[in-house]
Symmetry: C2
Subunit: 681 residues, 2 copies
């Protein structure tokens, strides 16, 4: 096989093929140098990726943050070298030294693409299916921002979302969920190239994946193109154009490729997937593809041709800026608002309505209900805060009246219906955040955070600003029973780096929790909210104000008259019982301090002095009270304290009953503290 | 509307409708009494459920454990009262008092069905999609056990798996994944009734779910029947028969129903879904359906008709027992083996091959590799141990040579190809365990345990015996980088009640970890295994044997010459560094104890004396070493110890480099201990 042999009539110029082969060899050489990585997918998918990037992708290598660029998501993140090769060759800030340092300590070319590490990467991918669903979220964002900001004669938001997905992406449920929603929403700007190489790690995809993928996507309402032969670059060009030009439905382009294409002995085999080809096989591949350049050398004509993306991109962005300035003249406020939204900045008055809610809840109210009111208040000033629920809007209090519902026919609607698809909701929300211009929120029951945990984790890793609204946060939800009662989920979210978890104890803490979430730009916040009503802490003896204190993570809500004998630490719905216990203990002559601790992460980020002030090292008689797993609370109670918490699963019964039976009462907390103190004496 | 009006010509007898209405009223009255629950789905689905149970379901209410019964999974678990009504009416051990105690403390009628609570419930459902995928697992088990045990003239395993699923189930990715695999595997004994009521909680399903479900299932290779009108019981009968008789493909019967059918004001509305109808509306529904009986009263003719299931069931089981005795005569060993497998008992010699591996690993080896050898050894004597990987068999070492691959054409194959479908793998494995006769195992990278966490949790809640094999268990996996490096997952599994997590430190600990997993009958075990090679602990100074110690959860691998100044606690790949640190510290004159702690849960179940022996309360200078989140380790190190662990995400680089850079070295552990001791002095 030679370069010429690839050129079946009309399938592309010599230069096109040299560029494609440059991508292939950069990829396989980098993997070989690292002795780690995935050469096969880049080799098979290089033609489609090249055609997309060279003929269609609207981007500017000099400014990877250009608001109206097309987005590109490599959902098959293991093919990272495909993307790094494209970024390098088209002139992004990714010099050849970084390609040589693929997968090494300190490089910006990690094993899988990471959006906060490498300029030009639009999404952190690798865990399969996530990128595909991110793409759906980006397409939602494009549609919604277009509906918000475009005006007749001013299409300032008008770009496409392109995605390359693998067999593995197609098998993952999160992609199925997202594809179904994308079809329902008629996301015409979304174009997914399906790299159908018929090979999975365990062998031929037939062993586990005999379904008819095109028929499935047609059932979702997608526009399905192909199959297209993966080396037929004219057909690829036609197919991508067709996908781009279809505006009513998302497009799936089925591309039949050969994994490890060009490798005489490994093409079409699973062994080309996840390991370096080996020096000898790469040599044979060089011969087979007629590639005469040593590793990491890119011939001048290829560089010149690929780097044309820079001037093209600058020109494209310049044209857009010109159009944007015209827009600014006609719609100065909209233009300012668009720029602010894309920068992720909040308007100066963002919290005026939120503030006005402070102190207005003087009877018991569920924190989920307060959250709903907070959302309504904030969105008045922050239209870019958008989201919804996985079919539990009424329970999660995520719906904001008067904002419509986002759909194909109401693109300006700002309440999302995600359907019963928690995992896709997670990845789609990440995609909306990745796109920029929106602050997404997404709600479900806390128990179902498990369904979406993989997406939430990638969002935390990639530092995306999303507000997760998790209601029905404990056995206090009652009758739905153990299948729905979260035990490990709250602590599980705290384990996740990059996540801020806030579990407010009353209405005012809930308002402050929303403040924390809104002011956080560099990562997600999880709000943990009750189904059941919570009394105002003030009505139970709190002496402190939530305002200015929730953001510190923990604070003293009731101080003992003298040096505390015991410290009671509660979160959320259990702080009331800690306060009640303090009354009982004080009556028994025990000096008791009560700490409300809505957020571990915020408390840990406080200065040592503050933390020592709240929880002095010398006071070891400590009791934590939280209706979730006890495991983890030793962080604050140590080896000498006691947790009032859960050890097993819950029980189906009215919430007041479950709470009492499992010991979440003032009396039991007080008794627990007394026993603890006696043991120490 | 009256009962008679429902009887359009040829759609069933008066008695059929009385039975159907009995189900409806038991359901709505129980929900009303509880003032909590989901009446709408039972009211709409009662006809299909009645026809299935009355005309087709092979079961014996007197013996819910009969091996060859049909399985019934109510994937739409929120419709629990439908199932409880059926169990009560057909004569299971579910008296009317339990129906009256629906969703109350101490009842066996929890909010959603729980397999370990209520006789006759075949799967714990409620979290949507799980039950559907459980059904796929049960159908796999039926096929595999049939291929193993049936002999010409002796079909002792020959039953169907029936499932009722809702719109919500259809939207969940886990069901999509499972459906695709079920189509590939041609699971003809699986029949799913899709309760297509077009209503979701947020409103009409059109808002988020416009896909063509039948077309999607056809794309998966399913046999799709319908749509059938939900009150046309003759059509339902024909459809169920057609589904049952189709042997080559799983069947989906699309049934168009009306949620809350019969309720004059709430039928067809979302409000009928998740709350009691109200006394007044129930009264109106009684009038509309011509139901003259007070709440919880079942007319005699209905009871008589429904209870015929008891005599029919006893007859069916008696016939089967007769056939089984004939089988026993012809195949005594197979019969004994079948009974043992169905009881979940291990053969007496189960561990003979496993034992012979002890002490045979004297050079460094990855715990995943040892796990693969353990699996090969155990399966020689325990054929019922079956499973596979979500397309990472080679990396997870889950494939056992010589056992074939389970497929439509090789039903006796015992390696599973789950495809890139972690979540379905989890729920399918649970379903295999629920069926009985098999001990399923399932592997993927530890990071992807997040994808399947919802299924793993339901398995733990429902006490199902599954071995989860999680490899690539830390940043030590290296180059794949942060997208693939687990930080929170190991601790996250420990948070889950009912789960036993074992992270072995070397080859011998790995063999013992498998022993723990095999001997555990009442819940899942997660094995946490390395990608990288681990030296035998003995080569690093361990003085203890893994045998007999791993099952205690933690044990002293190196004792200090005098009362310890410091205790180093390590797990898995980090124990070697704790041992190395002990050498350094001992040389510096510091009395150092090293504890290997493969399993928190096993350690916690030890007597106080043993725990005090390993970790004396008086010794507070403690250092934990684990390449995962530090959060949680305070359980053992308290407020005075230090963790060597992870705080952020990892980094893409060779595993040896990441381990060293993040401080997992003997030197750093020793330095950390020294600093700790100095601070205390």
């Amino acid at each position: 096989m030679t370069t010429t042999e690839q050129e079946t009539p009309g399938t592309g110029s010599e230069l096109d093929w040299r560029c494609i082969n440059a991508i292939r060899f950069l990829s396989m050489d980098a993997v070989q140098k690292a002795k780690s990585g995935h050469p096969g997918a880049p080799m098979g998918a290089a033609p489609m990726a090249y055609m997309l990037w060279n003929r269609f992708l609207k981007h500017n290598p000099a400014n990877p943050e250009w608001a109206d660029r097309d987005r590109f998501v490599l959902s098959a993140g293991h093919a990272s070298m495909l993307l790094y090769s494209l970024l390098h060759l088209t002139g992004y800030q990714l010099p050849i030294e970084q390609i040589k340092q693929f997968r090494q300590w300190g490089s910006i070319t990690p094993g899988h693409p990471e959006v906060h590490i490498t300029p030009g990467v639009d999404a952190t991918t690798g865990p399969l299916g996530q990128g595909f669903a991110n793409g759906v979220g980006m397409a939602i964002a494009e549609r919604m921002l277009g509906a918000t900001y475009n005006r007749p004669g001013h299409d300032i938001v008008d770009h496409h979302i392109y995605c390359i997905a693998s067999d593995g992406d197609m098998m993952e449920g999160v992609a199925s969920e997202a594809a179904s929603l994308a079809g329902t929403l008629e996301l015409g700007k979304l174009v997914c190239l399906y790299d159908d190489n018929n090979i999975s790690i365990e062998g031929d995809t037939d062993i586990a994946f005999l379904e008819d993928v095109p028929a499935r996507f047609r059932a979702y309402g997608w526009h399905v193109i192909g199959p297209v032969e993966g080396n037929d670059i004219r057909a690829l060009e036609t197919a991508i154009r067709e996908g781009r030009d279809e505006t009513q439905r998302p497009s799936l382009i089925v591309v039949r490729t050969t994994i490890g294409y060009g490798s005489p002995n490994k093409a079409g085999t699973a062994s080309a997937h996840g390991e370096a080809l080996g020096e000898e096989e790469i040599k044979l591949t060089r011969e087979a593809l007629g590639w005469e350049y040593p590793p990491f050398e890119v011939p001048g004509d290829v560089t010149e041709h690929m780097r044309s993306a820079v001037s093209r991109g600058q020109q494209l962005e310049a044209q857009w800026h010109k159009r944007f300035e015209a827009y600014r003249r006609d719609h100065p406020e909209l233009a300012a608002s668009f720029e602010r939204d894309m920068a992720g900045d909040l308007p100066g008055n963002w919290d005026s309505e939120l503030k006005s809610l402070r102190g207005t809840f003087d009877t018991p109210v569920a924190s989920r209900a307060v959250s709903g009111k907070a959302l309504a208040a904030i969105t008045k000033n922050v239209p870019m805060l958008v989201g919804g629920s996985a079919d539990l809007a009424g329970s999660n209090n995520t719906q904001v009246e008067g904002r419509g519902h986002f759909s194909a026919h109401e693109p300006q609607g700002r309440n999302m219906h995600f359907g019963v698809r928690e995992h896709a909701m997670g990845a789609i929300s990440n995609g909306m955040a990745l796109h920029g211009g929106l602050i997404p929120y997404a709600g479900t029951f806390l128990i179902f955070s498990d369904y979406m945990r993989a997406a939430v984790r990638v969002g935390a890793l990639s530092q995306q600003r999303v507000v997760w609204i998790y209601t029905h946060d404990s056995i206090g939800l009652g009758e739905d029973g153990p299948t729905h009662q979260p035990i490990s989920q709250l602590m599980g979210l705290r384990l996740m780096p990059g996540m801020v978890v806030v579990r407010p104890a009353d209405a005012d803490e809930t308002l402050e929790a929303w403040r924390v979430a809104m002011e956080r730009k560099d990562g997600p916040t999880a709000l943990i909210l009750t189904r059941q009503a919570l009394p105002p802490l003030a009505s139970r003896g709190s002496e402190a104000s939530a305002a200015g204190n929730v953001s510190r993570g923990a604070y003293i809500v009731k101080e003992s008259s003298d040096t505390p004998d015991v410290i009671l630490i509660g979160t959320g719905s259990e702080v009331q019982h800690a306060l009640g216990a303090a009354d009982i203990l004080s009556n028994a002559g025990i000096n008791t301090r009560v700490v409300s601790m809505p957020s571990w992460e915020l408390f840990e980020s406080q200065p040592d002095e503050y933390r020592e002030h709240v929880l002095p090292r010398s006071i070891r008689a400590r009791v934590s009270v939280e209706a979730g797993t006890k495991i983890g609370w030793e962080k604050y109670i140590g080896l000498d304290g006691v947790s009032v918490g859960m050890e097993g699963f819950g029980h189906s019964a009215p919430g007041g009953v479950t709470m009492e039976k499992f010991g979440f009462t003032a009396e039991n907390v007080a008794q627990t503290a007394l026993k603890l103190l006696r043991r120490q004496v």
